[in-house]
């Protein structure tokens, strides 16, 4: 059942055309755009010793997770509730929770596809390392997905309409990118801003991914904060979610 629902959601997602293209192409475009700049595969002091290409690959993963978690997930779920899709499913033998799980599975799959694509593209085109501390990298991605998707679920839970879901998502989206170090790398931020940014969901995700990619052990405190976001947001979403 879950397989059927998830593959249907995948089909519907690909029919959106612009969204899947954005998710896959935007990170890739960033990687290619900056990766081909001169000196992109030299370690940069103002990127904490990371190469531009590797930094951009990690950044791409972070952006993809943020779009999926804070924008697409809440907007889609809120629209399903608004349209009455969840209510209709409640009249069938299959619980509407399955549709929610199918959505999560789909976006997790898209996120993983993105990570794999970026690791391979950066490696093949720019000779970056495959993330050196691979287990830590996986933990960073998984907890990042948990934190960002968890917050997206809370937005989906409380948004009264698809429009509101979109709006709340966007309100969180841009500050997340800013504090997370997408507009300005965290190494170039004022220390106070950096301290705050490191403990935002995206900031922690990006920092731990980059650390693991470079071969530095990520800070446990950051993993802990990501797990906390995921658990607290997940519980809140489960408590607040309205099916109609």
């Amino acid at each position: 059942m879950l397989v059927k629902l998830t593959s249907m959601e995948l089909k519907l997602f690909t029919r959106e055309i612009i969204l899947p293209a954005l998710i896959l192409l935007l990170p890739l475009a960033l990687l290619l755009g900056f990766g081909y700049m001169p000196g992109a595969n030299k370690a940069q002091h103002n990127l904490g010793g990371q190469t531009t290409a590797e930094y951009m690959a990690a950044l791409g993963v972070g952006i993809a997770l943020t779009i999926l978690g804070l924008s697409i997930l809440p907007a889609t779920l809120a629209s399903y509730r608004e349209k009455g899709v969840l209510r209709r499913m409640a009249t069938t033998p299959v619980r509407p929770a399955y549709l929610l799980i199918a959505q999560l599975l789909l976006y997790v799959a898209v996120a993983i596809a993105n990570v794999v694509m970026l690791i391979i593209a950066a490696r093949v085109l720019f000779g970056t390392h495959v993330p050196e501390r691979f287990p830590a990298f996986i933990v960073a991605v998984v907890l990042g997905i948990g934190a960002l998707f968890g917050i997206g679920l809370v937005v989906a839970a409380v948004a009264p309409s698809a429009k509101a879901g979109n709006a709340i998502g966007l309100v969180l989206f841009f500050p997340s990118l800013f504090l997370g170090g997408v507009y300005i790398p965290r190494e170039q931020m004022p220390p106070a801003l950096r301290a705050v940014g490191d403990y935002t969901p995206l900031g922690a995700t990006l920092k731990t991914m980059r650390d693991a990619w470079m071969g530095t052990e990520p800070r446990l405190a950051q993993f802990a904060i990501m797990a906390a976001y995921a658990v607290v947001a997940g519980l809140a979403a489960a408590k607040l979610f309205r099916w109609e």
């Binding site: 059942m1 059927k4 629902l5 249907m8 089909k11 519907l12 029919r15 959106e16 399903y80 349209k83 009455g84 899709v85 209510r87 209709r88 409640a90 009249t91 069938t92 033998p93 299959v94």
Partner: protein, 301 residues
Amino acid sequence: MPVIDVRNLHKRYGAKVAVEDVSFTVDEGEIFGILGPNGAGKTTSVECVAGLRTPDRGTVSVLGLDPRRDRAELTRRLGVQLQASRLQDRMKVREALELYASFYPRPADTDRLIEELGLADQRDTRFGRLSGGQQQRVSIALALVGDPKVAILDELTTGLDPQARRDTWQLIEGVRDRGVTIVLVTHFMEEAEHLCDRLAVIDAGRVVAVDTPAGLVARVAPEQRVRFRPSVPFDDHLLRDLPEVLTVTKTGGQIVVTGTDGLLQAVTSVLARNQIIAADLRVEQSSLDDAFIALTGRPID
């Protein structure tokens, strides 16, 4: 045993009482209407029947099942078409039917259902590109895709043009002929009159009457009305003296006579005997509209 048995249903949302006290039974194979103005508690009542809401008081039994306790079993045997519920815009008709069919242990044949509902040409059309009537038919198809014994259809022709509405009525009759018991929620008199074997009139959260459409009309307004334009003026007493006649009123050149059974026969024979020709002769019978006003004290909208 009735297929659906609702007794003393009561449901409130906070301080607002949606359903005060509703009882009715639905027999196998009938089209049972629930008629009432918007906000009368129709939808809340059927949502309790479908197990989507828990009543505050009262009991509901559907096919011998408790909608809340036996919900899993009920969803397999009861089809529900909810008011204003859509599908994902990019889902194709065939995909929707196949997906929802896969939710049920013994689903209906989706291809046949698509044919029967006149959606064969829209098989590969996305839901968002269908007309209102077509979307409504998909909705009905999804309510029937589990091959249910009972189907609840809530406001299924709201927003449809007259032709689409009539087509939908025909469709519902076809579904009933296949042996499905149907509960039809509506606020259209004409629809209730046309389709329903019996109906419950609900107003302000209470059932005010349960009867056949004809029974409801007869119960509240047994009188008939004859309206015509006489070829020559004549004395009212000619008609007033007839035992079948209750009242005679003249407005302009037109005469309106009200009375009991056999009124038309009595009036026309008196006129013929007196060589008066009745032009524009019309007989008006009380309609369900009149019955509704008599039962609830106001028109439906």
